[in-house]
Subunit: 130 residues, 2 copies
């Protein structure tokens, strides 16, 4: 068992919270995952970079209004913590309602606010089939 107060465990948990909010299409939960700041940034697959939490949450709200629900199975997670800053790389195995799967590479950044780890950047992109 890993120590639940270990920074790596806390960052991993915050990373899972992001994917839970995404799977549930829960904009309130997604809002709690993110740091609320202008420095927050997000690149959805195929998108240009977005800046600022308001703009990012609007993009998730638009995505959540779509007809599709998606399951995300995380593999190959690497967590790096340095002081009040952390990054996670993970492969998102995204499965749609029809059972079709696609793999995305993600780089997620988190900042510690003294109480919890907040997402400050998310960048995901499709891994080409080989």
């Amino acid at each position: 068992m890993s120590d639940p107060a270990d920074p790596v465990s806390l960052v991993s948990s915050a990373n899972v919270d992001y994917y839970d909010a995404f799977e549930r299409q829960d904009i309130e939960m997604m809002s709690q995952v993110w740091e609320h700041s202008e420095r927050a940034t997000c690149t959805h697959p195929g998108w240009p970079p977005l800046h600022g939490t308001d703009t990012i949450l609007e993009s998730f709200a638009a995505i959540f209004r779509g007809p599709q629900t998606l399951q995300v199975i995380l593999t190959d997670e690497h967590v790096m913590v340095e002081g009040a800053f952390a990054y996670v790389t993970v492969v998102e195995n995204v499965v749609d309602q029809g059972g079709d799967a696609s793999a995305m590479s993600a780089l997620n950044l988190f900042a510690w606010d003294g109480v919890r780890w907040n997402m400050i950047a998310h960048h995901a992109s499709p891994i080409a089939s080989r």
Copy 2:
């Protein structure tokens, strides 16, 4: 004029060094841009995440052995510095020898070693045409 010792200027300069090494296909210069560690990570467009500087530099060496030379024009640069950690978002406007251009969204991370900023993560992905 920005202060050359300002962390934001130094990070921006380190970020430009990465693209200079890429354009010049200079693996020695690319090696100097990166932190040499297992925590270094890189996702090229369409690729899965790579881990460790040796693996990352091998991927650049393979890319540089290709026939194509590319020019990269950077736009929409945002630099965020917090302590010994920094991230940059930028749009890479990649122009090939035939003049064809494509746009990539990039998220680049840097760590301060007391002397200079070293790249610890690079993630780039194509922006879909709209």
